[in-house]
């Protein structure tokens, strides 16, 4: 009984970590980018100030808006919280709610959130909303095959689609950790991460350009709704990083038992790992120029090739 209570505490802390730390990581990455561009940049806590300011503004809803417009922020936010319950954020052992769904379930929740933002931006019939949602849908269509093949590769390696099993499979066999299928899957997933979080080869994540994708979809929102959407965007980035780090790249440093010290170590090591990857992402974001819109297929074809090669090399090697 004691163990179960403790697992619940871990489960709660898992959600709290993601809620509290995701704006910090986003602020850190943008700070790194600004420093590489030769500017001082805003404080790393700027996303917190933004969220605070937005939550204290009034809610403005257009006259033509239907219930979809009002529900999309909540759907997006709640699906991010639900994904948090499915993946190994802090613990190496599965938590009680971790069996609610596998990685496909997580991917389903990600696309549910994206789908609701899409139809909400189409809801008002403004031109920017249609532009953003059609671009985002194109990106989703192009990245979906790679995502599925990455999952197939992981499922072949781990013999299961649960992220906890993949983590155990990698940590238990060093030869599997250093095998080509694993590295190819890591690179393919990193390319997907860059595309999904609006990073540079695909899109510039500022809202001053005509090329915006993510920002164009939420242009009609204001006040607390916008804060929720922004927060769920930060959480999406954080969760993708968690999957990338704790399931694929470096599944060490997680808590192995129910002790509070394990919890603290897990949180600190997670943040440190994220800062390293965030640094890399920031460097890539400033070093690479943006692709033309009709050359996105080349980028996604590269990711697709990587994931297929991962499966091929695994099939004929099979550690």
């Amino acid at each position: 009984m004691n163990i179960y209570l403790n697992s619940t505490v871990f489960q709660i802390f898992q959600v709290l970590t993601v809620l509290a730390c995701s704006p910090f990581i986003a602020g850190f990455i943008s700070k790194i980018e600004e420093i590489f561009e030769g500017k001082t940049g805003p404080s790393v806590f700027q996303p917190y100030y933004d969220l605070y300011k937005l939550f204290h503004k009034e809610i403005l809803i257009p006259v033509d808006a239907s219930f979809i417009f009002k529900s999309a922020p909540f759907v997006s936010f709640i699906s991010m919280v639900l994904i948090t319950l499915l993946i190994p954020v802090l613990t190496i052992y599965p938590l009680p709610l971790g069996f609610m769904g596998d990685m496909l379930g997580g991917a389903f929740l990600f696309s549910l959130s994206s789908f609701f933002i899409n139809i909400a931006s189409l809801d008002l019939g403004t031109s920017y909303g249609g532009l953003g949602s059609s671009r985002a849908t194109l990106l989703a269509i192009l990245s979906e095959p790679t995502l599925i093949l990455v999952f197939v590769g992981v499922a072949l390696i781990a013999q299961s689609t649960l992220p906890y099993v993949m983590l155990h499979t990698i940590t238990s066999s060093l030869s599997l950790y250093f095998s080509p299928p694993h590295f190819l899957i890591i690179v393919a997933f990193f390319l997907l991460f860059l595309a999904d979080t609006d990073r540079r080869p695909i899109n510039a994540s500022t809202h001053v350009e005509m090329s915006m994708i993510e920002e164009a979809r939420i242009l009609d929102y204001s006040g607390p709704y916008l804060a929720l959407l922004k927060w769920s965007g930060y959480m999406k980035q954080f969760l993708l990083l968690v999957i990338f780090l704790n399931v694929l790249v470096f599944p060490w440093g997680l808590s192995v038992n129910h002790s509070p010290s394990g919890l603290i170590i897990a949180i600190i090591s997670l943040i440190v790992k994220m800062l390293i990857v965030g640094f890399v992402a920031g460097v890539i974001d400033t070093a690479i120029s943006r692709l033309r819109f009709f050359r996105y297929q080349e980028y996604f074809a590269a990711a697709f090739v990587l994931s297929v090669l991962a499966i091929m090399t695994f099939q004929y090697k099979g550690f």
């Binding site: 030869s175 250093f178 095998s179 080509p180 590295f183 190819l184 297929q297 080349e298 996604f300 074809a301 590269a302 697709f304 090739v305 990587l306 297929v308 090669l309 091929m312 090399t313 099939q315 004929y316 090697k317 099979g318």
Partner: protein, 219 residues
């Protein structure tokens, strides 16, 4: 044999295959040549690892010859040629880049299938993986020759085929007589020089390296 050598070989052949895909997806000729040099360097490292593993002095010799000829001399000649003629044009393609990547992927899958059917009964799995990647290099080299118009990319496609053949021979028969490897390396040098001279003549005659105009040549 220790496990880390298996893992290292596996990683190296996967990187070799990836570098050929980098070549397939690149638009600029100088990038193409650098990718070829990188691929040759990986093949050098692989040969060296195989030599260390099997204590074969011939393989060391072959490895360093590979480093010398494929990684240094050939890319140097090609890059110098590009600088001399001031070529800044993009690679001319028949097939667009995403489609050519996907076709390269199909060729790779076919090579895996072929290697598995041909040699799986009498060889360990590591050899199957490496030899199917070598086969796929050969196919991808053919595909590069077919789908690109510039003579320099024709040369590079030929060199990729040579790389594939060399990889296949090193992986399947590591105890190949050294004279064969010497002949192959000499062959490469002669091929590159001869084709470069030919393409220089072509540049002087038609004004470009593109082979699209050649069908107008009627005797």
């Amino acid at each position: 044999m220790p496990l880390y050598i298996y893992v290292l070989e596996d990683l190296l052949v996967a990187l070799i295959l990836l570098s050929s895909f980098v070549m397939l997806s690149s638009r600029w000729i100088s990038f193409y040549i650098h990718a070829y040099g990188f691929q040759s360097f990986l093949i050098f490292v692989l040969t060296l690892v195989l030599g260390i593993e099997s204590q074969n002095i011939d393989l060391y010799f072959v490895a360093f010859l590979t480093l010398f000829v494929r990684t240094i001399i050939v890319p140097y000649i090609l890059l110098k040629m590009i600088k001399k003629f001031n070529i800044k044009e993009e690679v001319k393609l028949i097939v667009k880049i995403p489609l050519s990547i996907i076709l390269g992927l199909l060729l790779t899958v076919f090579a895996y299938f072929l290697a598995y059917r041909l040699i799986s009964p009498f060889s360990p799995k590591i050899v199957i993986n490496a030899s199917s990647i070598a086969l796929s290099l050969i196919f991808i080299g053919f595909f590069m020759i077919i789908s690109r118009f510039t003579t320099i990319t024709h040369i590079l496609g030929l060199l990729v085929i040579e790389n594939g053949i060399f990889l296949l021979s090193v992986v399947i028969v590591p105890t190949l007589p050294i004279i064969v490897e010497l002949v192959v390396l000499f062959d490469i040098l002669v091929t590159v020089v001869a084709m470069l001279i030919l393409s220089m003549f072509m540049k002087a005659q038609t004004g470009s390296f593109s082979t699209t105009m050649l069908n107008r040549l009627v005797g």
